[in-house]
Amino acid sequence: MGTKVLIADDEPNIVVSLSFMMRREGYDVVVARDGAEALDAIRRERPALVLLDAMMPGLTGFDVCEAVRADAAVRDTRILMLTAKGRETDVARGLGAGADAYLTKPFSTRELVEKVREMLA
């Protein structure tokens, strides 16, 4: 069974592109379309890594991140936060909420893939 990666984003087209990349890298892909669904999937599917969009309706990526870190069962899940807001405060907030790494949209796919490999190594 391959390594499981969760993609949490509310933009369907971005999900399409991320899913394609992760599958190409040989990971098993799970998809969530908002924060609540993402948190659910993390607890249920126990993915090794989450590609987490910061701005989602309902629970935001930051909220999900904090909830994961506060939950002993899934605390060690690696989180790569993606955000379309490039401001430094957002980066700081993401890291403060407990993300392991942070990428700004639009990102370079090579960079993203490399980062994911690194984090799962």
Binding site: D10, E11, P12, N13, I14, V16, S17, L18, F20, M21, R24, R33, D34, M55, P57, A84, K85, G86, R87, T104, K105, P106, F107, S108, T109, R110
Partner: protein, 900 residues
């Protein structure tokens, strides 16, 4: 009957209680916890108005003349209506200029004239000393009734009894009325005792009243009923009595007592000098009338009850208050009633004596001493105190002597109202003085002299004659047989009683001379300046003018202050002044303000007029001209003007600061909005860019991609590119409209045609979605003045919005165009899920997109904000009506007349 020893013990005990209360009041004052600093106590102290003369005499008067006891109380009640205006002004003036007696007040107003002060004092002594005697007589008369002794039998030793009362009161007045020198510091212990006395006499009188009404009779109604049965009694309770109603006398009495309540020396003492706080006047001015009302409730019942009980020729009506309970087995109540009468008498004696002795000392004795060789020498404070104490003893002894000599004479019995008429002479110069700047010293002096002379001739002399001390033929026939000059029918004026007659002539002469002479001669500079200070007392502020020019040596001034105030108080004044000026005491300049300050302090000790004389003796004064007065006034009003201008400036500065702060807040929040907008735009731009870049790179890096997948990716890229283009256009569009830079090509527009065109343009969207579009339009609509392209944009936005949210099956959108009298309304209703209540408020905000991101059709989140901006710009309004789950209806309304 009660044993003499019991009565004497009770009276002595009562006096002891008074001493204790006064001592307590003084101690509390020294601790800074004043017992008299309340409107209630202040009003009770005003109750000193009700003396033994009214306590016993009201019943006597009611027993013979019915309602005629009332005007003496109606007057004060009426006077209280203007207390807040008149009394407050008197208090403010007295407080500001350290005025301690009514003689001081009048003299101070008319250029600090020593002569005027002496005149007022003389009138007071002549008018008041017999009144003091009357109180002593009441004390004695009450004792006689209570013990049942006859006058002849008791005279020998009870005469001494009255003397003891007088001496005890002198001691009281000395201890509590003349202990410190600065009278402006007030006598709290004395006032506390007076307030207690007022309370006691009220309680005692009400007690007797209740006893008579419900103890001896079956209530008020019973008394009235039985009065009707007694011949002559029924008339008592009717205003008109047996003869025609004497309106002139009724109003004269009312007016007279209204004046007296302000002008009697004892009233001036408790109301003005002893006032702790101006604000108390407001409440005291209705508590006091209530007090008068209460103390009068039982006057008629007691009078009628006494007549019924004793018969027409029975006991003296003046002593009904004592004899009724005594004769009906209530000696304790009789004793209480006696103590009530004693309190009425002693209260009057104490306050009147303190007030009169102050005037005698400051305005008669001191000026004489100062004139004759008392200019040098050391500390005068002990001497002044000694004089004042001697004056207290003297005034009381004079009263006692008068009482022993006059006894039962008519002159004594009728002195109450005669006294009132004497002090009424102060009315014109005092009241005129605080409201009319034109009054002068000569006018006031002449008015007082003239009024006083007429008073002596028309009221005092006849009463002396009726006592049998001088031949009384001149009353009937006129002096030397000249009928025109007959004192009670002056110049043939008949039809008035003696009092009204005298009041009419004396006040006529008084006012005539006062006004006439004041107008005839211009005031001197000092009179003019004092007039300004008195009349405009409420307008003086920190920039109060000081009408003094000249030079004084600091050392002389300090020595003078030391002599009259004592070294400690004098030093305190100079220290205070130095601290205010910010220089050490030896460097102080004896300028006008300092001289004025010292003079005022000395005035509190020896009176305004004497203080003036003393200050003048150590300073080289420049005589002030009226022009100087005006100049000084001008300077100070300029100062006041500057102060006011400064205040206004600082206020407007404060306002400006507030406005700037508000503007800054608005800018900040605008800035915040702009930041949020930029951040949102950035987010909206990055999202499609992310998809485009990611998919392009994926295709580049994955040469072996499935063709189907590649096609899908390319489709997404194209659609996201379109989304980017739309977004850029709309952001620019919105920015233009919001900033007012958009171009508007307004023409006459047929809204019906625009709706139809928009429906046609979106028909492809509806077909793809499988939805139906229904148009409900009137055949014709009035044309609008608007930009057709913009309106088309609005319709396209609303229609494409609606079609996005209809269900995939049986989707339906209805457009209705309604013509109202002054507007056109377009409604676009869909049968989609509707907008949840929570989102309705924000649906018109930028980048708020409804629905779920996955199922949501592509949009920028700017369509509705732009549409609303357009409608707003055209003077219309756009809104949403929706219930969640039952579709949404977006509507807008455009006025036919722009701005309508």
């Amino acid at each position: 009957m009660i044993a003499p020893a019991v009565v004497l013990a009770a009276a002595a005990g009562y006096l002891l209680v008074l001493f204790l209360i006064a001592a307590w009041g003084d101690r509390r004052a020294a601790e800074g916890r004043s017992v008299i600093d309340s409107a209630g106590v202040y009003a009770l102290s005003w109750g000193v108005y009700c003396t033994a003369w009214t306590y016993f005499g009201s019943v006597g008067r009611a027993a013979t003349a019915g309602m005629w006891f009332l005007p003496i109380y109606l007057g004060p009640m009426l006077a209280m209506l203007v207390a807040w205006i008149v009394l407050r002004k008197m208090v403010r003036i007295a407080r500001t200029y350290r005025i301690t007696s009514i003689a001081d007040f009048i003299a101070g107003r008319y250029g600090k004239s020593p002569g005027l002060a002496a005149l007022v004092t003389l009138i007071t002594v002549v008018g008041i000393v017999p009144y003091i005697a009357l109180q002593l007589k009441a004390v004695e008369a009450g004792y006689l009734v209570l013990t049942g002794t006859g006058r002849q039998a008791a005279a020998a030793w009870w005469g001494d009894g009255a003397l003891y009362v007088a001496l005890a009161l002198a001691a009281f007045a000395i201890i509590f009325g003349a202990r410190h020198l600065d009278l402006a510091e007030r006598h709290e212990g004395m006032v506390a005792a007076i307030a207690f006395e007022s309370a006691l006499k009220l309680v005692a009188f009400l007690g007797v009243g209740a006893f008579v009404t419900w103890g001896l009779f079956g209530g008020m109604a019973d008394i009235w009923a039985r009065a009707q049965a007694v011949p002559g009694l029924a008339d008592l309770v009717r205003l008109d009595g047996p003869g025609p109603f004497d309106y002139a006398q009724w109003f004269a009495l009312t007016g007279l007592s209204a004046l007296s309540v302000l002008l009697l020396p004892r009233q001036f003492q408790v109301m003005v000098v002893e006032c702790v706080d101006e604000a108390h006047i407001r409440r005291a001015a209705w508590i006091f009338p209530a007090y008068l009302l209460l103390i009068n409730v039982f006057v008629l019942p007691i009078a009628i009850g006494g007549i019924i009980a004793f018969g027409a020729a029975g006991a003296d009506p003046e002593t009904f208050v004592l004899s009724l309970p005594l004769a009906h087995g209530a000696p304790a109540l009789a004793l209480l009633a006696y103590l009530g009468g004693l309190s009425a008498a002693t209260g009057m004696l104490i306050v009147e004596t303190v007030a009169v002795s102050t005037m005698v000392c400051n305005d008669l004795v001191m000026p004489g001493l100062l004139r004759f060789g008392l200019r040098g020498g050391g500390d005068l404070t002990r001497l002044i105190l000694a004089i004042r104490r001697a004056a207290i003893v003297l005034v009381l002894m004079l009263g006692y002597l008068y009482f022993r000599v006059a006894g039962e004479a008519y002159a004594l019995v009728s002195i109450g109202l005669i006294s009132f008429a004497a002090v009424a002479q102060f009315g014109p110069s005092l009241l005129g003085g605080i409201y009319w700047r034109g009054g002068t010293r000569v006018g006031a002096t002449a008015g007082l002299l003239g009024g006083f002379a007429v008073w002596i001739y028309t009221l005092m002399l006849p009463s002396v004659a009726k006592s049998g001390w001088i031949p009384d033929r001149f009353i009937a026939e006129g002096p030397f047989g000249i009928a025109l000059l007959a004192p009670e029918r002056l110049f043939g004026l008949t039809g008035l009683d003696a009092l009204t007659h005298s009041l009419f002539w004396s006040l006529l002469v008084n006012i005539g001379l006062y006004v006439g002479l004041s107008l005839a001669r211009a005031p001197t500079a000092r009179e003019a300046s004092q007039a300004l200070l008195f009349v405009d007392v409420f307008r003086q502020g920190s920039a109060e003018p000081v009408f003094w020019r000249g030079r004084a040596r600091l050392d002389d001034l300090r020595a003078l202050a030391g002599r009259f105030l004592g070294p400690a108080r004098a030093e305190a004044i100079f220290d205070e002044h130095a601290a205010a000026r910010g220089v050490p005491v030896p460097d102080l300049v004896a300028d006008a303000r300092l001289v004025d300050r010292v003079e005022r302090q000395i005035a509190g000790t020896v009176g305004t007029a004497s203080a003036r004389v003393m200050v003048a003796s150590v300073a080289q004064e420049e005589p002030l001209s009226v022009e100087d007065v005006l100049e000084i006034l001008n300077e100070s009003s300029q100062l006041r003007g500057y102060a006011r201008a400064l205040e206004e400036k600082s206020q407007s500065l404060e306002e400006a600061t507030g406005e700037l702060r508000a503007a800054n807040e608005a800018l900040k929040s605008l800035d915040q909005l702009k930041d949020d907008f930029m951040s949102s735009v950035t987010h909206e731009l990055r999202t499609p860019l992310t998809s485009i870049r990611a998919l392009s790179e994926v295709m580049r890096d994955t040469p072996d991609i499935e063709p189907a997948e590649r096609d899908e990716f390319l489709r997404i890229i194209v659609s996201e590119t379109e989304r980017l283009g739309r977004l850029v256009n709309q952001v620019l569009d919105l920015a233009k409209i919001e900033s007012g830079h958009a171009e508007w090509h307004n023409t006459d527009v047929d809204l019906r045609a625009i709706v139809i065109d928009a429906g046609r343009a979106t028909s492809e969207l509806f077909r793809e979605r499988g939805a139906r579009l229904d148009l409900t339009l009137p055949d014709t609509v009035p044309t609008l003045r608007a930009d057709p392209d913009r309106l088309t944009q609005v319709m396209l936005n609303l229609l494409s919005n609606a079609v996005k949210f209809v269900p995939t099956t049986a989707g339906r959108v209805e457009v209705r165009l309604v013509v109202e009298p002054d507007a056109l309304v377009v409604e676009v209703e869909d049968n989609g899920p509707g907008v949840p209540a929570a989102e309705q408020a924000t649906v018109f905000e930028k980048f708020r997109q409804g629905g779920d991101a996955l199922t949501r059709p592509p949009g920028t989140g700017l369509g509705l904000p732009i549409s609303r901006q357009i409608v707003d710009h055209l003077g219309g309004r756009m809104w949403l009506e929706s219930e969640s789950g039952r579709g949404a209806c977006f509507a807008f309304r455009l006025p036919l007349q722009p701005g309508g």
